[in-house]
């Protein structure tokens, strides 16, 4: 029983990790309709830039994440402008390959600057909490709490603020939004910037419990895609449910079946769900 509670908490913490990484991706998918395969490498860059400000420059932890998030926002905007914008009328295949080109580039740059070695990011958050016989570290609680807070803020932003509403408008009907005077190009840049910003917050919070390396985004990349597809593309609630469901499924199957199954379970669940419901759990009306 203790093991079960412990693993449940571990699963929820992992869900927080996936969730923070997934929301930015699903946002981009909803607005730009592109599978941004470079998302994982933005996560990696976010982690390294945070690390740079925290360790090399020496600013406090939260400030380091904040500065890094702003820098990555700009980078996201540039990525949209230089890579995805020229491809806006091309099929998805082109975006995918361009994103892979960007991914190669980002990884090589990170390796050139910070080297291939693993690095550890120390945080001021330490200690752990005992709940129901389970032990859970403070950093993981911060991850879960931040995931919830960031998601609430994002939902508020999209539903209430002008800029956010333009995102939703574009998501729902690109042509219609353009007709009422929303500039799709601006919204695309805003969205990609926002997704880079969100993924940097994720990276800043998650990398202390793991390690930094130029390929740290790779393993997350495929899983996050599985999550947003499972939840339904462009759906925020879908991404949240998908994240926690897959994370808990992963920890539980690893615990009670085997680690190999745990690694594959995200994809098995995905295949099973799509076989029954081909548009994911929380599909929005698919529009061209």
């Amino acid at each position: 029983m203790t093991l079960f509670t412990q693993q449940l908490f571990n699963g929820v913490a992992l869900g927080g990790v996936y969730c923070l990484a997934a929301i930015g991706l699903t946002l981009v998918f909803g607005v730009l309709r592109i599978p941004n395969l470079a998302h994982g490498s933005l996560y990696m860059l976010g982690a390294y830039v945070t690390y740079f400000f925290l360790t090399t420059v020496g600013v406090p932890y939260v400030a380091a994440i904040g500065i890094a998030a702003l820098i990555l926002f700009v980078l996201g905007v540039l990525l949209e402008r230089l890579v995805f914008h020229p491809l806006r009328n091309s099929p998805h295949t082109h975006h995918m390959i361009a994103a892979i080109g960007a991914m190669f580039f980002f990884q090589a740059v990170a390796q050139a600057i910070w080297g291939a070695d693993f690095r550890r990011m120390e945080t001021p958050i330490s200690g752990s909490v005992h709940i129901l016989g389970a032990e859970i570290s403070a950093q993981r609680i911060v991850i879960i709490v931040t995931a919830v807070v960031v998601l609430s803020l994002l939902t508020w932003f999209i539903k209430r603020s002008i800029h956010g509403q333009t995102i939703e408008a574009i998501e729902q009907d690109r042509t219609g939004a353009a007709l009422v005077g929303i500039n799709p190009a601006m919204v695309s840049m805003l969205t990609l910037g926002l997704s880079a910003l969100l993924v940097t917050i994720a990276a800043g919070l998650v990398s202390p419990i793991n390690l930094l390396s130029p390929t740290m985004g790779d393993s997350l990349n495929l899983k996050v895609f599985a999550i947003i597809i499972l939840g339904g593309l462009g759906s925020l609630p879908g991404a949240i449910v998908g994240s926690f469901a897959l994370a808990i499924a992963e920890t539980m199957t690893s615990t009670y079946i085997s680690s190999a199954v745990g690694e594959a379970v995200a994809f098995i669940v995905l295949v099973a769900v799509l076989a029954i419901k081909p548009t994911g759990l929380f599909a929005k009306a698919v529009q061209r």
């Binding site: 599978p35 020229p86 892979i100 080109g101 295949v271 799509l274 081909p278």
Partner: protein, 382 residues
């Protein structure tokens, strides 16, 4: 004979001829022969992608997995079970096609991005199975000493040149199949589906079955490529089945030109050599290669062959317009129609064949093309 007047066919034949002659120039260069032969194996798998993606318009990301199944079937059957290469190859290719068909049953229920990510998940599950099922696949230890094809005393396939020609001949067959599919009514059906599934459905095409067959055909080509690859390199590990492999194939087909007959081969060879060329920069090569890939996709969205094809069409159109005054009404009508198709994108297809053999459905569908890619014209009269 008029086929030889079509610059596209001449171009394709020229590419094939150049590749056919490489052993003459580089027969003693084991390295170049190896890179080219491995490239040809990949190209076969890329031709598979061409059918499902280029013709049918479905982005399948399971191709690396199918390649891996073909490779592992040949690898495991020729070593652990001591089968002959040909037996193993046959079983591998049939098995891969069957797995492709079966996974297509579920995968093709999904559409667009869902289909892409779904097939990526299939590819990843194949990879995980290969890399984790140690009892059967030896996981990361890989499969060593995969057999060369047997040919009695006639040819010794341990000779790289002989192996090259074997792979090359099989590739030629694949190119021909691609060409034949493209010209047949099946090809037109697939193109119609690519243009609009609803339209295809409305005019009575069995969309589900056609997509299903196209998906199985892509797996079939993947299995052939993988099976040959296992024999060429002699040692295979799980890296033969990664999702990265799929993206590599995708890069090849995009650079070469989706939906063209020569594109997969040209793209594979150019990208392969481009990557080899930059090897001297070691880890830093991707700082250069990344932007090159992006630039190719942005500036040559139809791929190299697609671009050249567009160029040829433009010239042909100009020539025809020039000669139209003398040539009479029928010719100029065709030209006018060709000009009409060019409104949305520059990839003109002078659809004379569509008119002459009466399959106006496909012709109409093709004219509705919105994606910027090129299809080799069936320009010759029979």
């Amino acid at each position: 004979m008029s086929a030889l007047k079509n610059p596209r066919i001449i171009g394709t034949l020229a590419v094939l001829l150049i590749i056919a002659l490489t052993p003459v120039a580089f027969g003693d260069e084991n390295y170049i022969m190896r890179v080219i032969t491995v490239g040809l194996c990949s190209a076969i798998a890329v031709y598979g992608m061409n059918i499902i993606l280029g013709f049918t318009g479905q982005l399948s990301l399971a191709q690396g997995g199918f390649f891996g199944i073909g490779a592992y079937a040949v690898g495991l059957l020729t070593t652990d079970f001591d089968w002959s290469f040909w037996q193993a190859f046959l079983v591998g290719v049939v098995g891969t096609s069957a797995i492709g068909y079966l996974s297509g049953l579920i995968a093709l229920r999904t559409k667009d991005e869902y289909f892409a990510i779904f097939t990526m998940a299939i590819g990843f599950i194949i990879y995980l199975t290969i890399s984790r099922w140690e009892a059967v696949t030896h996981a990361h230890s890989g499969v060593n000493n995969v057999k060369f094809p047997e040919a009695g005393d006639i040819v010794d396939f341990s000779n790289p040149t002989a192996m090259f020609y074997l792979v090359f001949i099989i590739l030629l067959i694949c190119v021909y199949i691609t060409y034949a599919i493209r010209r047949s009514s099946v090809g037109r059906t697939l193109l119609t589906i690519r243009t609009s599934e609803d339209l295809a459905d409305a005019i009575g095409v069995n969309v589900g079955l056609s997509k299903q067959l196209a998906f199985a055909a892509s797996a079939f080509f993947g299995g052939i490529g993988g099976g040959l690859y296992a024999s060429v390199v002699g040692f295979i590990g799980p890296d033969a089945a990664t999702v990265d492999k799929t993206f590599e194939f995708l890069m090849f087909i995009l650079v070469g030109g989706m939906g063209t007959v020569a594109g997969p081969l040209v793209g594979t060879m150019i990208v392969t050599f481009l990557f080899e060329l930059f090897q001297d920069f070691q880890a830093y090569r991707f700082i250069v290669l990344g932007p090159i890939i992006i630039a190719l996709v942005i500036f040559a969205p139809r791929g190299i062959v697609g671009y050249l094809g567009g160029f040829i069409d433009k010239r042909a159109r100009k020539r025809r317009i020039g000669s139209a005054h003398k040539d009479g009404a029928a010719r100029s009508q065709g030209t006018a129609q060709a000009g009409g198709t060019a409104t949305k994108d520059d990839s003109v297809r002078a659809d004379k064949s569509a008119n002459s053999d009466g399959s106006t459905r496909a012709g109409a569908a093709e004219r509705r093309e919105t994606t910027a890619d090129t299809i080799t014209t069936d320009d010759e009269e029979k």
